[in-house]
Symmetry: D2
Subunit: 234 residues, 4 copies
C-alpha cells in the first residue's frame, strides 16, 4: 500500500512541507509506504484545455512531454494521495493548480473509456496560509478530488493559518498526522473492494423515473400550496 505525499510550495522547507511530514508519519505508522515529492522540482506545463475542443482529446498520457508523465505514474501506482499546499489568495498556487489541472488526463478516462483512472483511490488535503482562507482552498480541493473519483476519509483535511511557527502547534500536527493515518486506514479498507464504483448502466432506471413522477405528484398535492402549509403561515 503506497501513499504519495505531494508538497505544493515553492519553498520546500516551509509549513506545508512540515505538515506533510506529519501526514507521512501518520500514514507510515498505519502501515503504508510513503513517497514524498515536491511539485516545485517538476516541470509541469499548464493544461491546454483540449477537452473544450474535443471531449475525447484529453487522455493519459496528455499531449505534453514534461515531468507530469512521471507524476501520472506515481499517482497511478499509489493507493492514496496527500496534497499539502500553501494557500495564496484562498486557493492553491499556480504550481499546484497546474498539477491538479493536468490530472484531468487521468479523470477524463471516464469519458474516453468509461472509467476514471483514479476512481477508488483515497485523498487527503493539507492547506497552510497566513490568513483565514485555508478552508476555502480545501473546499475547492475536496470537491475536485471527489469529482475525479477519489474517496476522502474521516478527518481527511488539516489546515493552519496562524503566524506562529506551525511546529509549535500540537493540535495541527495531530491533525496532519491523522490526515495521513486516515488516508492509509481507508486505503486498506477499500482495497478489498474489487468492483467498480460508478455504475453507468441501471436497467430499471426508466421505470423508476415513472415511480418518482407519481410520488412527486402525490407530495405536491399533499403539500397543497407551499404557501399555505402550517409551519410557514404564522
Amino acid at each position: 500500500m503506497k501513499i504519495l505525499c505531494a508538497v505544493g510550495s515553492p519553498r520546500k522547507y516551509g509549513s506545508s512541507y512540515k505538515l506533510a511530514e506529519f501526514a507521512a508519519k501518520g500514514a507510515r505508522d498505519a502501515g503504508a509506504e510513503v513517497e514524498m515529492l515536491y511539485l516545485v522540482d517538476y516541470r509541469i506545463e499548464p493544461c491546454a484545455g483540449c477537452v473544450s475542443d474535443d471531449k475525447m482529446a484529453c487522455r493519459y498520457p496528455c499531449i505534453f512531454e514534461d515531468d507530469m508523465k512521471a507524476l501520472y505514474d506515481k499517482v497511478l501506482e499509489a493507493s492514496g494521495v496527500v496534497i499539502s499546499t500553501p494557500v495564496y489568495w484562498y486557493s492553491p498556487p499556480g504550481i499546484v493548480k497546474n498539477f491538479i489541472d493536468r490530472l484531468t488526463a487521468l479523470e477524463n478516462m471516464a469519458v474516453v473509456e468509461g472509467r476514471s483512472w483514479v476512481e477508488g483511490k483515497v485523498a487527503g488535503v493539507i492547506a497552510v496560509g497566513n490568513d483565514s482562507g485555508s478552508v476555502h482552498a480545501i473546499s475547492t480541493l475536496l470537491a475536485t478530488l471527489v469529482s475525479m473519483g477519489f474517496a476522502i476519509p474521516p478527518w481527511g483535511f488539516a489546515c493552519y493559518n496562524e503566524e506562529r511557527e506551525v511546529l509549535e502547534d500540537r493540535g495541527v500536527l495531530l491533525d496532519a498526522y491523522n490526515v495521513g493515518r486516515c488516508v492509509a486506514i481507508m486505503c486498506k479498507a477499500l482495497e478489498r473492494e474489487e468492483r467498480a464504483w460508478y455504475l453507468d448502466r441501471v436497467e430499471d432506471l426508466g421505470e423508476f423515473v415513472e415511480l418518482v413522477v407519481q410520488n412527486s405528484e402525490k407530495l405536491r398535492r399533499s403539500q397543497a400550496d407551499v404557501r399555505r402549509f402550517a409551519r410557514f403561515s404564522p
Copy 2:
C-alpha cells in the same frame, strides 16, 4: 446497514426530492436499508452558538427540546447519510443550514469526551439550483462533513442546475444513483474497521518535531535562496 436520505427543500416534490429518490435506489440496490426524511417536516430551532461561550456546552442532545432530538437519533443509528438540498444563493437554505448547525452537538462530543459521534460514518451530497452555484454549496458541505468526521466515497456528490426537468437528464439521475450506491458500498467497506480513526496521542511526536526541524533546515539550505533557483530565474 442503514442510510438516511434527507431532503432539504421546503418543496417536498421538487428536484432535490427527485434526485434523493435515485440516491435511495442506488443505496438500496447496493444492499442498504434507506429512510427518506423531509427536513421541512421537522421543527429545527436555529443553533444558539453555545460553543462560543463555553466549549463544553455544546453536546448531545443539545439544549433545545425540538424535533432535532429525533433527527439526532436517526443520524446516530445510520451508517451513512445523503443530504439532498436545493441551492439558494450558492448555499443550502436556512432549513438545511439549521440542521447542519445543530449537528454540531454530535461533532462536538470530540471536545466533550474525545470522539465525534459521527466519526467514521459516510456521507454524500446532492445539490440542485437554477444557476451555477451548486458546486459552491457542495464544496461547503463536503468540507463541513469531513470536518465532522464523515468519510466521502468516490462520486460522493451530484449536482444539477439546468432549467430542464431533472428527470429527463439521464446523466444526473445516474450521478444521484451513484451517490447513494457509493455511500452504501463505503459503509460496507468501513464497517469492518472497528478502531477509532482520529488518534490524539502519538508518543514520539516530540522527537519527530526535531527531525522535521532539521530536514526543513537542510531543504532551506539546498534551495539556497528561493529567488535564485533555476526554474524561477529565466
Copy 3:
C-alpha cells in the same frame, strides 16, 4: 445617507456584534447615519422557494407575514448594508441564511418588473469564526450580494478567526472600521449615479455577435492547433 448594520449572531454580545460596532463607527465617521439591528430579534421564516414553482411568484413583500417586512423596508431605505455574521461550518448560521434567502423578494423584482430593488446599493461583510472558514463564508456572501445588485467597496470585508478576544486585535478592529468607512464612501460616490446599472437592451448586440464569431475564428486559426503552440511544446 443611511447604512444598516445587521448583526447575525444569536449571541448579541459576541464578536460579530463587537466588530459591527467598529464598522458602524467607520461609517459614522465618514458621514453616514447608521442603524444597528440584531437579526435574532426578528422572526424570519425560512424562504419557501416559491420562485422554483413560478419565477414571477417571488416578489416584494413576500408571502409571509413576519418581521421580514420591517427588514425589507429598512434595506430599501438604506444606501448601504453591512452584514456581520458568525461563521458556523464555513458559512453563515441559519438565522442569517434565512435573512439572505428572503432578500430574494427584493432581488427578484429584476424578473418581475425589470430591476432589482437593491441595485446600486453598497454592501460590506464581516465574518467571525473560531477556525479558518471565515473567508469561505465571505466568498459566498460577496458572490450573493454582487449577484443581487449590490456594489462592494475596496476593503469591503473583514474577518477574524483567532481564539484571542477580538477587541485586543487592533488589526481586525481597523479592518472592521474600514468596512463601514468604505461602504459609506462608496455610497456617497454612487449616489450621484442616477441611471440604471444593468442595461437589458443593447441594440447592436446581434451585429456584434457576428463580429465576435469572425474574430474567434481568426484567433483559432492563428493559434493553429493549441497543442502545438510554442509555449506548450517544450
Copy 4:
C-alpha cells in the same frame, strides 16, 4: 479612463474570449478605452512566495524578470480590470492563478509602504466552465480582488456553464456586457474620490474599545442566558 480586459484561457478563441469581447463592448459603450490581452501570450513565472520568508520582500516590481512586468504596468495604468477565465476544477486554471498570485506584488505595497497600489481600482469577473463550478471560481476571485483593494460594481460578474454555444445565449451575453458596463460606470463614479480608502490611524479607537466592552456586557446581561431567551425555547 482605461479598462483592461484579460482573457485567461489557453484557447484564445474560446468562450471566455467571446464573453470578454462583450464586456469590452459594454465598457466602451459606457465611455471607457479598453485593452484586450491574452494571458497565454505572456510568460508569467509562478509566484515564489517570498512574502512567507519576509513580509517586506514582496513588492513591485517582483524579483522575476518576465512578462509580468508589462502586465503590472498595464494594471497600474488602468482604472478597471475585467478578468475572463475558463473554469478548470471549480477555479481558474494555473495560467490565471499565476497572474493573480503575482499581483501580490502590487497589493503587498500596503505592507511595504502603507497603501495597496490597486486600491480603489474596479474589477469584474467572467467565468466559463462546462459544469456547475463557475460561481465557486467567481467567489474565490471576488474575495481575492476585494481583499487586494479593488471595488466590485453591481452585476460585477457573469458566468456560463452550459454546453450550448455561448454566443447563442442572449442572457449571458448581456450579463458579460453589463460586467464591462458597470465596471466602467463605477470607474467614473470613483475617479472623483481622491482620498485614500483604508484609514490605518483612528485616533479614538482605544476609547471606543471601552465603549464596546460596556455595550457588549449590557447586551449579554439583557440576553441573560442565551439558552433561555424566548425565541429559542419552544
